[in-house]
């Protein structure tokens, strides 16, 4: 049993308020045979400027420091790709730094940007992320991804990262899912939902109108996970501009974008799940130790925490974030979330890790209809819609960009600009994608607070990014 000291559990505090003022992203796709990475990054930064009604040069004149999220140098076959992009964006001689935390790279890039502004080092920071995953075919890509596992103890075993994750999925499936067909159908519902929401998103790589049966009949990747349960392999870029208050006011004066307060927290856990040791469940504000006393009785095998059923890193990121900003209950206090749905089952695990539902009951978030834009059971707005972008399953997983794409998406809801951006006919045409005849406005009406979870592999790194309308803070001094 391992324990944490009070010093380690200290709630983070920013030295001054930090704001997100704009964000942008490129089209996402499996491959861009006719575009260099820098062209995708330029697309993202140009959009960020356009949303402020500024020219790229005007926006750049405010930037003081840059953080670049790019996980896999070997995929792009370019070390110091950050320097290439920095130069091509015309941002030399500003200081810049690369960030790499696997699937959480995008979130970690924002984490660094927020700290740079909060500390006073910079008043305006560019956080840009991308990934180039089309330089090798899928088998070789799987090999490259498996290099993120331990090279001596895990990677030689099949060179297939999904397999290293899937043993955890299998444990969750057995312990909390009880191997029930009804749970398997709930997982399939998540895939249907995310591919379905991707249909409304011109940036998304995998829009699909599919049924639960089609998910259940798609090829097995690693039982019980099937092809349609899994995230995409993508290419693309996304960026965000993070500022102090005075700069935020200046940058947004001619724009519908209201500066949004931003906080990012982070947690970590062993790279190899094999190294996980038992501990007591760290509690979130909406939980008590009592409620987990008989967890192993209700769910045999669930007594070992985090075991292979939970992601401690996600739990810790949520613990720091909720206590920092005053969230008591995420379902009540937040309006929209983007979660790291690398697999349908990890989406469910995350509902529990971040307290949307208690451990063991994640599936209820889907089955209740709370996770939908419009609850299919009641026809009313979902209580806490998730992954309206399509997530990693329907929209993209261009690793270094993913966590930033999520924040772009939740910000557009709080800015009340979701329909303007995602429904723009010119954008659909520019991306050479067909806007569906039943295109639906997924704007979450009145959204004021949102959360994005950025997550690496088997849970080695996780960040929680929270955005709030500054007039709707829960804790005034957060």
């Amino acid at each position: 049993m391992i324990k944490f000291s009070d010093k380690q559990l200290k709630i983070p505090k920013l030295m001054r308020p930090v704001y997100l003022v704009t964000a942008g992203q490129s089209k996402f796709d499996r491959a861009f045979p006719d575009k260099r990475t820098e062209e995708l990054c330029v697309d993202a930064l140009v959009q960020a400027a356009e949303l402020l009604n500024l020219s790229p040069a005007e926006l750049k004149s405010y930037i003081h420091t840059c953080y670049y999220g790019h996980f896999a140098d070997h995929f792009g076959d370019q070390l110091l790709g950050e320097s290439v992009i920095h130069d091509r964006l015309g941002l030399d001689p500003l200081g810049n730094c690369g960030v790499k935390t696997g699937g959480a790279t995008g979130g970690s890039t924002l984490w660094e940007g927020v700290k740079a502004v909060a500390s006073g080092y910079s008043d305006c920071v560019l956080a840009m992320g991308w990934e180039r995953m089309d330089e090798v075919p899928t088998d070789e890509g799987n090999f490259y991804i498996s290099c993120a596992a331990d090279k001596d103890w895990e990677s030689p075993l099949g060179h297939i990262y999904a397999g290293y994750y899937a043993v955890m999925a299998q444990k969750y499936w057995k312990v909390f899912g009880k191997e029930e067909d009804s749970f398997r159908r709930t997982l399939a519902e998540i895939a249907v939902k995310h591919h379905g929401y991707a249909r409304m998103n011109p940036y998304a790589q995998s829009p699909m109108k599919i049924t639960v049966e089609e998910v259940l009949n798609s090829p097995v990747v690693a039982y019980p996970l099937r092809a349609l349960d899994c995230c995409l392999m993508s290419v693309g870029a996304a960026c965000a501009i993070i500022c102090d208050e005075a700069t935020a006011i200046k940058l947004t004066k001619n724009s519908p974008n209201k500066p949004l307060r931003i906080w990012v927290t982070a947690g970590s856990h062993t790279l190899r799940p094999a190294d996980r040791r038992d501990m007591a469940i760290p509690l979130l504000p909406n939980e008590t130790a009592k409620q987990y006393k008989d967890l192993g009785k209700k769910f045999p095998g669930g007594e070992r925490y985090p075991g292979f059923t939970g992601f401690l890193a996600a739990r810790m990121a949520a613990y720091y974030a909720y206590n920092q900003v005053g969230i008591k209950d995420p379902t009540e206090d937040l309006d929209v979330v983007e979660l790291h749905d690398a697999f349908t089952i990890s989406d469910v695990q995350t509902y529990e890790d971040i307290g949307i539902r208690p451990y063991g009951y994640g599936r209820d978030y889907v089955e209740s209809g709370d996770c939908y834009h419009t609850n299919p059971k009641t026809g009313k707005p979902g209580k806490l819609p998730s992954n309206l972008s399509g997530g990693l399953i329907g929209c993209m997983h261009s690793v270094g960009a993913t966590g930033i794409m999520q924040v772009f998406e939740i910000a557009t809801h709080i800015w009340n600009r979701w329909a303007e951006i995602h429904g723009d006919n010119k954008l659909w045409k520019k991306f050479d994608r067909q806007k569906p005849s039943d295109w639906t406005d997924l704007q979450v009406k009145g959204a004021k607070r949102a959360l994005a979870i950025s997550h690496a592999g088997v849970g080695s790194h996780v960040t929680a990014t929270i955005l709030m309308d500054p007039d709707k803070l829960i804790k005034k001094d957060a």
């Binding site: 391992i2 006719d34 060179h159 297939i160 397999g163 043993v167 690693a222």
Partner: protein
């Protein structure tokens, strides 16, 4: 004639012999839908890395001798003194003292059971295992962590008792020299090169 790169260490220095890379020109990538204009270039590359096992070398060496080595923290001042680590950890994650190397082959033979598993139909490039791969995580009595490996015979089930087997004949000196089989498996059922 080319020879695959070989390495040994003498007086603390790598001594290398043979070829560590192969030369090959790339091929143009052209756009079939746009008059075959140039879009890019392939970059073929094959090279050999020189990798040190450091303090874990004893673990990999012993697999080829049919032994499963682990480590234990024996630091009297450490709060988690006595913890046994498998996977092998050179240092205690709490006190960062150097762990004691122990032979846990008997513990594995007597107590190993499957914590979780996954039958994986796919693999990445360079995979050397037969598919489907039956990934298993193995728990042991008195060991605080859970080892990742694969089941070489039979179908995995949670809670199933398993025993280790080792590739003593033509070892690869990698983690692939260890696999697991259900308790009661006969020697003649083991994959080629493996024994108990």
């Amino acid at each position: 004639m080319s020879m695959t790169g070989q390495v040994h260490v003498k007086k603390g220095q790598y001594k290398i012999k043979g070829d560590f890379h192969h030369l090959e020109f790339g091929q143009p990538i052209r756009l079939a839908d746009d008059n075959w204009r140039l879009a890019g270039i392939t970059n073929p590359r094959q090279l050999t890395h020189i990798h040190s096992y450091g303090g874990e070398a004893i673990f990999f060496e012993n697999l080829s001798k049919g032994k499963l080595m682990a480590t234990r923290c024996d630091n009297k001042k450490c709060e988690t003194k006595g913890s046994i680590y498998q996977p092998f950890r050179i240092h205690c994650p709490d006190c960062l003292g150097k762990n004691t190397v122990i032979d846990m082959t008997d513990i594995a033979k007597k107590t190993a059971k499957i914590h979780t598993f996954m039958v994986c139909e796919r693999s990445g490039a360079f995979n050397l295992l037969d598919k489907p791969i039956k990934f298993i995580n193995i728990e042991f009595d008195g060991v605080c962590t859970i080892l990742f490996s694969y089941l070489a015979v039979g179908e995995p089930k949670m809670g199933m008792r398993v025993v280790p087997i080792f590739q003593k004949l033509d070892p690869t000196y990698t983690i692939l020299d260890m696999a697991w089989v259900p308790k009661g498996t006969k020697e003649n059922q083991l994959p080629k090169g493996f024994s108990f």
